[in-house]
Amino acid sequence: MTNHSVSVAELVKNTNLNVYYGKEYLDRLITTSDISRPGLELTGYFNYYPANRIQLLGITETSYAKGMANGQLFHVMEHMCQPETPAFVISTKLRPPKELIRAVKTEKIPVLGSELTTSRILSNMTNYLEGKLAERKSIHGVLVDIYGLGVLITGDSGIGKSETALELIKRGHRLIADDRVEVYQQDEHTLIGQAPQILRNLLEIRGIGIIDVMNLFGAGAVRGKTKVDLIIHLVNWSKDAPYDRLGNGNVYKKIFDVKVDQNTIPVKTGRNLAVLIESAAMNYRTRKMGYDVTATFNNNLQKLIQANSKDASYNTSKQKQILRNNKKAIQKNPHLKG
């Protein structure tokens, strides 16, 4: 799924670039989040020139270009304008070299500018492009924001994911995506989930059909995208399957390179799933805040057991002592017997 692309126009809009030249060329496509800073290319070395990347020119490059002979500079710039080159960006409010403007005309490449320094605009563009161009995976499930936590509800078809989501929305939580959740990895520890454009704000409930959550419950009931913090996996109740009774399971699911905590909740009539999922989310949150109820309970239990064990041995030794004393007393005073 690497055939994703972003248009230069979208980049301009989202990273606050201005257009020096080529407003009509903004529909060119960017296919990689890498950004090139042509330095050696200016000297004529083009062996590893990454033509498909955004070309970013800063103070060093523009001032070097100023010192070059016009003809030579135009020749180099022309070489940099390849059919797959998406755009040129000039940082720090610098003026683009005239030769560049002349050179881009053949391939119809826009020349953009930014007020930010080279490193700032570089990181802004990289962040934006990485989010947009990251590999995406479709997951069958429902993504809901519960008290600010992104909870992905998974499970077999017909187990009641959408119905549970509806109840959660009624309880004041927000829907991100129903049925198909698009996830991508933002960084090493962050997984972001969102709805495919066509399914945004929609929920499909068997017997009712498609409902528009924003229409029915207001703008507060939906959210564009969120980090995926927790997975709740719904399964049909089975008598023999061992379920996590104490909450010390520590089960993860790996999506891309991110490990996401997963709880498996058995579904049975009479179990209010919305409340269960809400509690699971809160429990996860307290655990992340440093309070592990299972560990605390285990400590308390251990103390109780120790206290009980001491009592037991103390009682038996006391009983034995009494018996011994009785025996001695009887030996001394045989008339006490009977």
Partner: protein
């Protein structure tokens, strides 16, 4: 109804892990299974109930089973007790 007495030989008593296993074993049967300790009786299918007793080392407990598969239930629980080193 069938019952059997056990003496807990494990130093750690019935802590979280063995409690979970006992409950898992008992849950497999239809019979009502209870654990008695110091005059208190709890359902052996309820994990919080079992753990709340804090059964310690040298404690004497009684397991009761009542129902159509009571014998199997009691045997299975006994087996788990031995396997987990809770009693002989």
């Amino acid at each position: 109804m069938v019952k059997r007495q056990f003496k807990i030989i494990s130093e750690a008593g019935i802590h979280a892990r063995p409690a979970t296993l006992l409950v898992q074993t008992a849950t497999k049967y239809n019979s009502k299974v209870t654990l008695e300790y110091q005059g208190k009786s709890v359902d052996l299918k309820s994990i919080m109930g079992v753990m709340s007793l804090g059964v310690g080392h040298n404690a004497k407990i009684v397991i009761n089973a009542n129902g159509d598969d009571e014998k199997d239930a009691l045997n299975a629980v006994s087996e788990t007790m031995e396997k987990e080193g809770l009693s002989k």
